[in-house]
Symmetry: C2
Subunit: 271 residues, 2 copies
């Protein structure tokens, strides 16, 4: 299934805009798991199986696997999601950014080796750094636009030709998106900017990190970013869900946190 | 040894500004190697051993390993360089870009797992996406500034507040560089822009891709980018060197190409 169709099904059939981010920091894993050789996989699988019916997507962050020589666990995790929860697409958060044959290799890494349904990509190198991913028409390509960290303003908020750099990225994404594959990352800490981006890109999906541990306001995020049908958002929460408990009840605690977040989001979906 | 000191030694003692990029595309490897399980490692090791005395750095591109589940070969390649050619630093070209604990994990991946001496990083997310790498004071952190691909102008060439975005990146890098760790990527196809960046950053090293297969002019690059002492540049060539021959003589052909490129660069170093 195409990524965009899978996301749409999550929004409508499972009635959720929540994306759970899988950032398995070894220092924060439940004590009972820590010494297992497959601790990262076991932890993430527990979270996945406890929350799959509550999410529109899962988003593993590749750095947490790569730093610990655990690419095999990332492969196994994504294969597990596809097998056990075939309706839930996987966004590989890797923020790749390079050109030509190198970007082609990154596409093979994400889509073929890891089997991801979508990949986050950095737009700084421009259109020919996006092009190689568009050769995979079923896959989602999610460009960084306006990030929620303090340094996000250093470049993204510069004003050039009457608009901010992040607004230019949104307009460029609309131009580049010949197959309906693109989406944008827009941080939850800036609701006005979510609304600006939504105004530029029409129905294009937005991936919104920063809700939960990073302090973004759910109501402001949803009302600023929803489409007219109350969809269009993948609202990511990582730490507030996956580290809801450090004990052996971590999966149940993650489910409770995911349920509360999904419901809080859904309160504000109807225009 | 600190990355910056190792690069300086290459410029002065080995008298070379050449950086050889290791982009081992499986489709372009010598036929004799292709079916070996460690083809990528064997190929790169052949290039490394044939050219180490001619370079100031090696720059493996991680995508070519990651796409083919060959992280172990990348680890072995960098370990081989450190063991056999301990004076030659390794730049891991991965163009990472993320924040906080995720960037900390990328730093562990590059500097601890792979043992790289420097890492390329994307500046789009701003200062707090650079900060975690600066916690490794011996390591080099090489920010994308002005890239040589056609799409490089989409964002980098926007004019904001009287300067181009890439010029702003150069000025920010100067501000952020409290330990003398930063360097910048500036493409060889834009000599005037290399000169602009050199004018902003003083003695900061510049990594210049685009010479060779990408068509950048060596004389224009060197005269635009050299420091007053005739150093300051890591001029990268990948394909023109590593694919100089597709036959079994690939290593000797790479050496001949590297020698010619180093000498052509050195013709223009003296002001």
């Amino acid at each position: 299934m195409r990524f965009i169709d899978a996301i749409n099904e999550g929004w409508t059939r499972r009635d959720t805009l929540l994306c759970v981010g899988l950032d398995p920091d070894p220092a924060r894993l439940p004590v009972a798991l820590r010494d297992r050789p497959d601790a990262i996989l076991t932890f993430c699988r527990g979270i996945v199986d406890a929350t799959a019916d509550l999410v529109c997507a899962f988003k593993p962050q590749i750095a947490y696997f790569a730093a610990h020589r655990a690419e095999d666990q990332l492969e196994a995790l994504i294969a597990h999601i596809h097998e056990r929860h075939p309706d839930v697409p996987v966004i590989l958060d890797a923020k790749r950014g390079d050109i030509g044959s190198t970007a082609e290799q990154y596409a093979v890494e994400a889509f073929q080796r890891f089997g991801a349904d979508a990949l986050t990509v950095n737009p700084y190198m421009g259109h020919d750094s996006i092009e190689p991913y568009l050769a995979w028409p079923d896959k989602g390509v999610i460009l960084l636009c306006r990030t929620s960290n303090p340094g996000g303003s250093d470049l993204q908020f510069l004003e050039a030709g009457g608009e901010r750099v992040f607004e230019r990225v949104a307009r460029l994404a609309l131009d580049w998106d010949r197959n309906g594959q693109l989406a944008l990352v827009v941080g939850a800490t800036f609701p006005q900017e979510i609304a600006r981006v939504r105004g530029i890109v029409g129905e294009m999906p937005l991936l919104v990190p920063g809700v939960g541990a990073q302090g973004g306001d759910v109501r402001a995020t949803v009302t600023a970013g929803r489409t007219r049908s109350g969809n269009g958002l993948m609202i990511n929460s990582s730490r507030a869900i996956i580290y809801a408990s450090r004990g052996e009840d971590y999966a149940a605690a993650a489910r409770a946190a995911a349920l509360a977040t999904r419901d809080e989001i859904n309160r504000w979906r109807e225009p």
